[in-house]
Amino acid sequence: MACQIKENEIKEKVIEICGEFKNDPNDLIAILHKAQNHFGFLPKEVQAAIAEILNISSAKVYGVVTFYSYFTMEPRGKHPISICMGTACYVKGAEKVLKEFESKLEIKNGQTTRDGKFSMNTLRCIGACGLAPVIMIGEKVYGGVKQEDVSKIIKEYE
């Protein structure tokens, strides 16, 4: 799937992003943030290009990418669904909501639907505990989500 982005396009953009940070390896995390914002995810090719320009090993870049949960090597769906699994959401039934999304979309947590429309992941607390359980689709936040609301929410995006 990663080959959807052309190689020279990767190189050009990565040079531009790294340049903004004066090719300083200390800013690796900021550079990865920018790159993920642009490409949507961080495939091997992007990581290798960053490593080359910053003059560090790809292993180091890979190590950082896989350490932090915010970075992903998988392309996300058009509508990324994030389900908060913080404690407040957990005690208010977030797990049931997660299971419902999994069964309705027929994917597991962390996967993307075959049509590329939805992807799903869990995150640890978005700091909206008062609205628990909370999910986010793209930038939109849904609070007080119940198991039976899930179909209705998915329909909004179909």
Binding site: P25, N26, D27, L28, I29, A30, L32, H33, G63, V64, F67, Y68, S69, Y70, F71, M85, G86, T87, A88, Y90, V91, K92, K96, K99, S103, L123, R124, C125, I126, G127, A128, C129, G130, A132, Q147, E148
Partner: protein, 486 residues
């Protein structure tokens, strides 16, 4: 909801426009910085020490002492870091301060810079907080324009500027040495202390790290005096603490109360009591590093020491209330699931030990536990606590130990009777149709994804326990309350 509250850290939140520096200045904003810059560095540190302020990020280390240590280390270049990597699930006070009153943090960082002799500061903030980032950027630009950040602040010759560094979702980065590693573009793995960041921190230079809420208290302390601050709270814990009240409680949200307020006051007076008037079971403080407080702790005054004594900790201030429907074994498992995922993997006790704890708990919640496992849980917990490298591992067994201490009966029931009294653990419950109540509408049969329900229209239906996957779909669909959980 307001009576028992005193607002210091949250004093301006909701009362000023966070995107307008003039609003902050009209509330004595930057007066504390002005006051400090006309006095000596030692005087600032003395005030902080006298106030008794302790770190609000969880550890509770005295702030004045921390500054004194960083100030005493010789060096041309030093750094001030604000830890805004609020990763504790169920806590959102730092986010509220940054979104509602960003200047108070900037001002306090400048004060700290002056006190320890640093000219550069960074805020390490979660990338998941876009609004807080936006408001900080606006605030920094406005402060620079007003000459309150940058070169020659207020004409005193003092230089100090602040930049942002983004986190990327790693709980361990709340630990200060891991945070510094992450700021330098590395995996956020903690390192041995000493050397402490005060001696050798960011880029190898002396560095002082404080949390957002700690910083937010500082301008108020300097404006109102150390004695004023020290007059609030308890013997060992001065001032107030912000709690994120959440879970099964009627009023949820941020509250700021004097140290020494009891759990009962927090939950019943401020929180309005338990949701749907159910039975209170436990309050979890300190997140994945903390423990559960129970009925018997309701009247304990909350401060750093008393929480520790009760087997929990202050942590960053998340307070999750649980009721009779929450299974304490499952709660412990939930936290261990978190720790296993967030352990950085550097040291063995934390990386492997927590996995063992998780597997044992999983075994118990799936009805396969033995009495022997309860002993194992305790043993492994003690080992992880004493042998782990950083605060994450040293505290990760707390949810297990405190639930074992306070809810041993529940654990015991799980392993001996294979029973979950809160009807939470799927493997230990059964859905049953009460024949007398079943009208034979067939709604449950249609809802069942496992085809486990049989019965003809208008006749009594039956659930095949072998086929049942315990999803609860039938239970939700039945309009006649004829399905029960056993």
């Amino acid at each position: 909801m307001k009576s028992k509250q005193i607002k210091i850290a949250l004093r301006n939140c909701g009362h000023i426009d966070p995107e307008d520096i003039a609003d902050y200045i009209s509330k004595d904003g930057y007066a504390a910085l002005g006051k400090c810059l006309t006095g000596s560095r030692e005087a600032v540190i003395e005030t902080m020490k006298k106030s008794g302020l302790r770190g609000r990020g969880g550890g509770g280390f005295p702030t004045g002492k921390k500054w004194e240590l960083a100030a005493a280390v010789p060096g041309e270049k030093k750094y001030v870091i604000c830890n805004a990597d609020e990763g504790d699930p169920g806590a959102f006070m730092d986010r509220s301060v940054l979104e509602g009153d960003p200047h108070s943090v900037l001002e306090a960082m400048a004060v700290c810079g002056y006190a320890i002799g640093a000219d550069e500061g960074y805020i390490y903030i979660r990338a998941e907080y876009p609004l807080a980032i936006k408001r900080l950027k606006i605030a920094m630009a406005q402060a620079r324009e007003a000459g309150l950040l940058g070169k020659n602040i207020l004409g005193t010759g003092f230089n100090f500027d602040i930049g942002l560094k983004y986190g990327a979702g790693a709980f361990v980065c709340g630990e200060e040495t891991a945070l510094i590693k992450s700021m330098e573009g590395n995996r956020g793995e903690p390192v041995m202390k000493p050397p402490y960041p005060a001696q050798k921190g960011y880029m190898g230079k002396p560095t002082n790290v404080n949390n957002v809420e700690t910083f937010a208290n500082i301008p108020a302390i300097i404006n109102n005096g150390a004695d004023w601050f020290a007059s609030i709270g308890t013997e060992g814990s001065k001032g107030t603490k912000v709690f994120a009240l959440a879970g099964k409680v009627k009023n949820v949200g941020l509250v700021e109360v004097p140290m020494g307020t009891t759990l009962r006051e927090l939950i019943y007076e401020i929180g309005g009591g338990i949701l749907n008037d159910k039975q209170f079971k436990a309050a979890q403080t300190g997140g994945p590093s903390g423990g559960c407080l129970t009925e018997k702790h309701l009247d304990t005054p909350i401060d750093y020491e008393s929480l520790k004594q009760a087997g929990s900790m202050m942590g960053s201030g998340g307070l999750i209330v649980m009721d009779e429907d929450d299974c304490m074994v499952a709660v412990a498992q939930f936290y261990l699931d978190f720790t296993v995922e967030e352990s950085c993997g550097k040291c063995v006790p934390c990386r492997e030990g927590n996995k063992v704890l998780y597997q044992l708990l999983n075994k118990i919640t799936h009805g396969k536990g033995e009495v022997e496992d309860l002993k194992k849980l305790k043993n492994f917990s003690e080992i992880i606590k004493s042998a782990s490298l950083c605060g994450l591992g040293q505290t990760s067994p707390n949810p297990v130990l405190s639930t074992l201490d306070n809810f041993y009966d529940e654990y015991y029931e799980h392993v001996t009777e294979k029973k979950c009294r809160s009807k939470n653990c799927r493997a230990l419950i059964k859905y049953i149709i009460i024949p007398e109540k079943c009208v034979g509408c067939g709604a449950c049969k249609r809802a069942c994804p496992a085809e486990a329900i049989s019965g003809e229209v208008k006749k009594i239906h039956l659930i095949d326990q072998e086929k049942c996957i315990k999803c609860g779909a039938c239970y939700q669909k039945c309009k006649f309350n004829s399905i029960i959980i056993e």
